[in-house]
């Protein structure tokens, strides 16, 4: 524990402590919107436990990952649906 992870969120670099979930890292990066809904509304994480899928983002090129259930790993590239 205690180590830091370097990740990027929409191309911006960020350092977070180990144990940080991707959704939280995105919030720490100041990104408020994780995706746009079917009718174009801004959305962010809701249930925090992998149920609602509102927090889905692209992680290392893999789309539709639940950012609330994914821990940050060093070198991770995260993109929100912006």
């Amino acid at each position: 524990m205690g180590e830091n992870m370097n990740i990027t969120v929409n191309g911006h670099s960020l350092t977070v402590p180990a144990g940080t979930i991707v959704a939280a890292a995105i919030a720490q990066a100041g990104v408020q919107r994780l995706r746009r809904s079917a009718s174009g509304e801004p959305r962010t994480a809701l249930c925090g436990m992998g149920v609602c899928f509102e927090c889905r983002v692209t992680i290392n090129g893999d789309p539709n990952c639940r950012s609330c259930l994914t821990l940050c790993e060093d070198g991770m590239e995260v993109r929100t649906d912006d």
Binding site: M1, G19, Q28, R33, L46, G48, V51, C52, L69
Partner: protein, 429 residues
């Protein structure tokens, strides 16, 4: 993606208190045990973070037993299909897991009831337990003004947790009337540990106001919530907040037991005294058998684990303790029953299904969820109705529609590799 096959005598789904205790006692009884959970960590929601934090004595004790009981642990794997004949499929970020089991213990926990009201889709309006969970994973709330609203004892625990992470929580709003909450509090005299827990939580909350008989009616803002309109049924008022953390108590996660053919009654899985479901060799423990909290789950998990391992006498010895927690369960559902006003919060243009953006007016008039699904796509998005299902049950009285695999969205490659969901027995009947 790689494919892995695992064989075990007892397979446990869900690594919260019920699943962990079940896996421990079955493993300690000498059975080969596998424990699978969709989070990358152990503990479920209630013991989340205890693996590293180790502040909760009971959690620490059980997590240590789990380490030593010989159970193989598969974290970060989402169960998406299975059958009562002894198979189960899960997908992790790197592998497809196929389990073969002789006894299965379903301990899939519960989720929050998130009822639609105008503005509930705004960023910043988040599940109460949800926000608390994410804050533990590093979501920044320090200095943010948060109102916690909804129903159930969880709200106070959430408020305490958010405060510990630096949030400013001036108000907790409970929809149940004072009379019911006081009655529930008095009933806790029979559950001294719960009473002490409640007193400690309230004391820790200090200056936080706890208002009963109030609920949120609207959230306002453009890209993020800015203010919340609250009511006590007589007057309404607006307060500025950075977050509304809300949830109207919990509802069991029933997708897996329903897929496996387990009979449910009153929204929970029906079990016998040994926690065995209507399907032989499939047991169920914790919230799916009726929301009762961690203490109830701990006993049910042990009974299920012992019964699955053939230790019926040891299981029987725990019946009395379990039955006492069942009285707590019953008291919970009576005290925090939802008031009828909550059914009328959604306006005609309020989104009910967040995945497909289906609005309240589009749903009125359908006889059941299935009809609404076919015509409007309500419940057809990635969450598969996990959020709007509970909402439409409250709003329209609709029951859960039939469950089909995959019970969670997975990669098409996973379905192909697993060869599941394409078999004739899974075709539409």
């Amino acid at each position: 993606m790689t494919s892995e096959r695992h064989t075990c005598e007892v397979l446990v789904v869900g690594a919260g208190p019920a699943g962990i205790t079940a896996a421990c006692v079955a493993g300690e009884a000498g059975k080969s045990v596998a424990l699978v959970d969709n989070s990358p960590w152990l503990g479920g929601q209630i013991w989340r973070g205890e693996q590293t934090r180790q502040t909760h004595q009971e959690a620490r004790r059980w997590l240590r037993r789990l380490e030593n009981c010989g159970a193989r642990i598969f974290s970060g794997a989402t169960v998406f299909d299975g059958s009562a004949t002894g198979t189960l499929f899960a997908e992790s970020p790197t592998a497809i897991l196929e389990f073969t089991w002789r006894k299965l213990i379903v301990a899939t926990g519960a989720r929050e009831v998130l009822l639609p009201f105008p503005g509930w889709t705004l960023p910043g309006v988040m599940g109460a337990g949800g926000l608390h969970a994410m804050v533990q994973g590093g979501w920044p709330v320090a200095g943010k003004r948060v109102v916690v609203a909804g129903s159930g004892p969880l709200l106070l625990a959430v408020a305490q947790g958010l405060q510990e992470h630096g949030a400013d929580v001036p108000l907790v709003v409970e929809q149940a009337p004072w009379s019911k909450v006081i009655e529930f509090g008095a009933g806790l005299l029979r559950f001294p540990t719960k009473l002490l827990q409640g007193i400690a939580t309230r004391a820790a909350l200090g200056q936080v106001r706890y208002r009963c008989g109030c609920w949120p009616v609207r959230a306002e803002g453009a890209e993020w919530v800015q203010s919340v309109v609250l009511t006590n049924g007589k007057s309404t008022w607006t307060e500025r907040y950075d977050y509304l953390a809300w949830g109207f108590h919990l509802v069991p996660n029933l997708e897996l037991p329903l897929l496996l053919g387990c009979v449910t009654a009153n929204g929970s899985v029906a079990v016998d005294a040994f926690q065995e479901t209507s399907v032989k060799a499939i047991y169920c423990a914790g919230e799916p058998t009726g929301v009762g909290g961690a203490d109830s789950a701990l006993v049910e998990g042990q009974i299920a684990g012992l019964a699955a391992a053939g230790k019926t006498e040891e299981a029987r010895a725990l019946f009395r303790r379990r039955n006492s927690w069942h009285r707590f369960k019953a008291a919970l559902s009576t005290a925090f029953a939802l008031r009828p006003e909550l059914k009328r919060l959604a306006a005609a243009d309020t989104i009910v299904c967040r995945c497909e953006d289906v609005r309240q007016a589009e749903l009125a008039g359908f006889a059941d969820w299935r009809a609404a699904k076919l015509q409007t796509r309500c419940g057809m998005g990635p969450c598969q109705g996990r959020v709007c299902g509970a909402a439409t049950h409250v709003l329209f009285g609709w029951e859960l529609a039939s469950v089909r695999p995959p019970i969670f969205p997975v990669r098409t490659g996973t379905l192909r590799a697993a060869g599941t969901c394409l078999k004739p027995q899974n075709e539409d009947k």
